[in-house]
């Protein structure tokens, strides 16, 4: 008996240790490729799934391409991650391209790039594969403090914050990409000169968000174009952990502009949102105290024009502050406006007759199925108004005229 059992258990032991070792060797080899990458080189990832336990880091390099064999053909899976919060982390680099690759299930963010000048994400799928859950990581694609950012033909699924999130960056294009089942589909935060177009944001809590938040290093964002996107049925219940700003985004939000300036939203299809089609709000709506003295909490210079709005007949979800506000205070639970503006005015941005100076105007014009409400949050919603005529203006041209006059 004993003679038979002993070799058998030894074989098992040998096999397990072998497979574990093999696993680690693949990871170690890939890790070395990242660590030792020479400038002006290609890191080619082969077809197949690689399970990884640690972050793949790239730091201080120039002109590197990280290339797989295609979405869902080369898969980096971080489900069993034991150390480091990110899947791939790229820092202090110049001209980096990530392409043809799927990255899955990191404990924190899937791909974070910080302080990179020239970063391209092309044909990258970044996803949590177990559906929308608050235990999923925060961001799927996460360039922060970067310059010249291109996100093209990517897919982001299941982020407990934002699927495609560009923060504190400059010169940004997000195009031809898809965001599903995230809290925020695409978010541009405290970033300058961004263009978001030809994307699909479907089935998130909020479709496309353009935010400026306090207490950050890059204080002011703005100059953002959002056009030709399909923004549809972003009615997912909000599953962000509390404490995060997107936790305040009401379920059923198409486009939300928070405290940013110079944002133009046009030629989008914004369809079937239970709460807000497009919203323009100040930071005061979050009811979070502001301690940052350099922070401007008011949206300014916003233009929403030539979009197509559509909404199925359904009640605004009662959950959350917005739901209650809509149903019980504004009493528009059954037929909410497609576009809302909180109406909170900055005394520094208005003339003696209480109108916004031309460069700070809010303009709403020529949208299909347009309906609008200034909810007058400043005066406890007393003078809410469906009248869009004070906002019927051409921001881009009016601003040009006013600048010319100066």
């Amino acid at each position: 008996m004993k003679i038979n059992i002993l070799p058998f258990s030894k074989i098992i032991l040998f096999l397990t240790s072998f497979s574990l070792a093999a696993q680690t060797n693949v990871e170690k080899k890939l890790l070395s490729q990242f660590l030792l990458a020479e400038n002006n080189s290609l890191i080619q990832l082969e077809e197949g799934t690689i399970n990884l336990q640690k972050t793949l880091p790239l730091d201080g390099k120039k002109n590197i391409i990280i290339r797989g064999k295609g979405i869902d053909r080369t898969i980096l899976n971080f489900a069993n991650q034991t150390s480091g919060a990110e899947g791939i982390k790229i820092t202090n680099c110049e001209n980096i391209i990530l392409e043809n690759l799927t990255v899955q299930n990191a404990k924190g963010d899937l791909i974070k790039t910080m302080e990179v000048k020239g970063i391209t994400f092309r044909k990258i799928k970044a996803e949590w594969t177990d559906g929308p859950k608050s235990t999923n990581g925060s961001y799927a694609l996460y360039p922060v403090m970067c310059e010249n950012v291109l996100i093209d033909s990517c897919i982001a699924i299941g982020a407990s914050d934002a699927g495609i999130y560009v923060g504190q960056s400059k010169n940004i294009q997000v195009r031809n990409s898809k965001a599903f089942q995230n809290v925020a589909g695409i978010e541009i935060e405290n970033s300058l000169f961004a263009e978001v177009y030809n994307n699909q944001a479907i089935g998130n809590t909020g479709g496309i968000l353009v935010f400026d938040l306090p207490d950050l290093v890059q204080k002011k964002g703005g100059h953002v174009l959002v056009h030709d996107n399909l923004i549809q049925e972003n009615n997912l219940p909000n599953f962000a952990p509390k404490g995060n700003i997107v936790g305040n985004v009401p379920q059923g939000t198409g486009v939300l502009i928070l405290a940013t300036n110079n944002v133009e939203v046009f030629n989008n299809k914004i369809i079937n949102h239970k709460t807000i089609g497009a919203g323009i709000i100040s930071y005061y709506m979050t009811e979070i105290p502001i301690k940052d003295k350099a922070y401007d909490p008011y949206p300014a210079g916003i233009s929403i024009h030539d979009n197509y709005f559509e909404r199925k007949q359904t009640r605004v979800p009662a959950k959350g502050r917005f739901g209650k506000l809509y149903r019980f205070v504004l009493k528009v639970g059954k037929t909410p406006p497609m576009i809302i503006y909180d109406g909170i005015l900055d005394a520094k941005k208005i003339n003696s007759s209480g109108e916004l100076f031309p460069e700070f105007k809010i303009c709403i014009r020529n949208n299909t199925n347009q309906s609008f409400m200034n909810i007058d949050a400043e005066h406890n919603f007393k003078n809410k108004s469906w009248d869009v005529s004070p906002y019927d203006c051409d921001f881009v041209n009016d601003k040009k005229v006013s600048q010319w006059k100066k």
């Binding site: 404990k107 924190g108 290093v217 404490g243 995060n244």
Partner: protein, 347 residues
């Protein structure tokens, strides 16, 4: 005696050549720790050569309860200027040597120890570089592992509990994850406020480390500067004021990233010892990009309420997607977490 100093002279020349190599050419990094000749006799005893200076910090970084022994080597004839606030600007060629080890039993040091890794921070011409060397089980030498590693470790702690865990040796990039100032690598520990403490040097009475560096001719420091030199308390010393202990703890364990020039500057949180702005120090500060790290809490520090403070929540976690610091530990630092809890409670 004569022989030892001869050997040491020869070694000093070798070290000089190695450091020249780092400065003037693309470095060929020694594969083995022994090739540097930092230590005399049995390598595992870590007995430094005469020109290798041991040092200690007032308030060290927590690294999974590892004990650390630190040494530095500065090229002869070079000097460091006194700087009250920042890490000392060591000259090119400087090598910082940090050894991480576990006693077999913390309450019974005679049983010996196991050295896990030796990290070298070398000031090359292109800036500081980090090199992790992992020790073999026989404790005869350590080998350069740029990818780091996961090492199973067992030891008995002070309460005689057996601790069995996997120690993570960082890879060369992870080193920089903490050791970064404005995008370039930098040491964290050896600042005046950390070095300002007595040390028992061999065959000598204990002496202040700053004075030792000055007497060896490496530190330019006036009498006046020495008298007014800042000093962090030891955060484990319960005789010190709670606020000073918390400040020292957060400075060494968090502020290497959470400062206006550090890798976590995007968070807007600054936990440096000399930051007097309570808003950026975290009081009632909303998190930025914390994700599930927020733990459903709204503010970094809520005075009087540790259980509502994200700082306390993240320090008390072992989940890689939540815990802070992000790397450098796999265990919770019980004593540190208790300190921060008590401090927040009494704010």
């Amino acid at each position: 005696m004569e022989k030892v100093s001869n050997v040491s002279k020869v070694n000093s020349v070798i070290l000089g050549i190695i450091s020249l190599f780092f400065i003037h050419s693309k470095p060929a990094i020694p594969e083995k720790l022994s090739e540097y000749h930092f230590f005399v006799g049995d390598l595992k005893n870590l007995s430094p050569r005469e020109d290798i200076i041991p040092y200690d910090l007032n308030s060290p970084l927590f690294s999974d309860y590892a004990s650390k022994s630190r040494f530095l080597w500065i090229p002869k004839g070079k000097q460091v200027s006194y700087n009250a606030n920042k890490v000392l600007e060591f000259p090119e060629g400087t090598i910082l040597i940090k050894n991480f080890f576990y006693p077999i039993s913390e309450s019974n040091p005679e049983l010996g120890r196991r050295i896990i890794e030796t990290r070298l921070l070398i000031h090359e011409s292109a800036g500081w570089k980090a090199y992790p060397y992992i020790w073999n089980l026989e404790q005869t030498d350590a080998t350069l592992e740029i990818t780091g590693g996961s090492i199973p470790v067992r030891f008995k702690n002070k309460k005689n509990q057996l601790i069995d865990f996997t120690y993570e040796v960082p890879n060369i990039n992870q080193c920089k994850g903490c050791h970064e100032v404005n995008g370039t690598m930098s040491p964290i520990g050896p600042s005046v406020r950390q070095l300002n403490k007595p040390y028992s040097y061999d065959h000598q009475q204990s002496k202040n480390q700053l004075l030792e560096l000055k007497e060896r001719g490496f530190l330019e420091m006036s009498e006046d500067q020495f008298i007014h030199a800042p000093k962090l308390v030891d955060y484990l010393d319960k005789n010190q004021a709670l606020a000073d202990r918390a400040k020292a703890y957060l400075d060494i364990n968090c502020a290497h990233c959470h400062n206006p020039d550090g890798p976590a500057k995007n968070s807007g949180l600054n936990l440096r010892w000399n930051n007097l702005n309570i808003g950026t120090y975290g009081f009632m500060k909303s998190p930025v990009a914390a994700g599930r790290g927020s733990g459903n809490l709204k503010f970094d520090i809520v005075p009087g309420k540790p259980n509502e403070s994200i700082l306390y929540f993240r320090m008390n976690s072992k989940d890689p997607g939540i815990m802070m610091p992000e790397i450098g530990r796999t265990m919770v630092h019980k004593e540190g977490v208790e300190l921060i809890r008590d401090w927040i409670r009494e704010l």
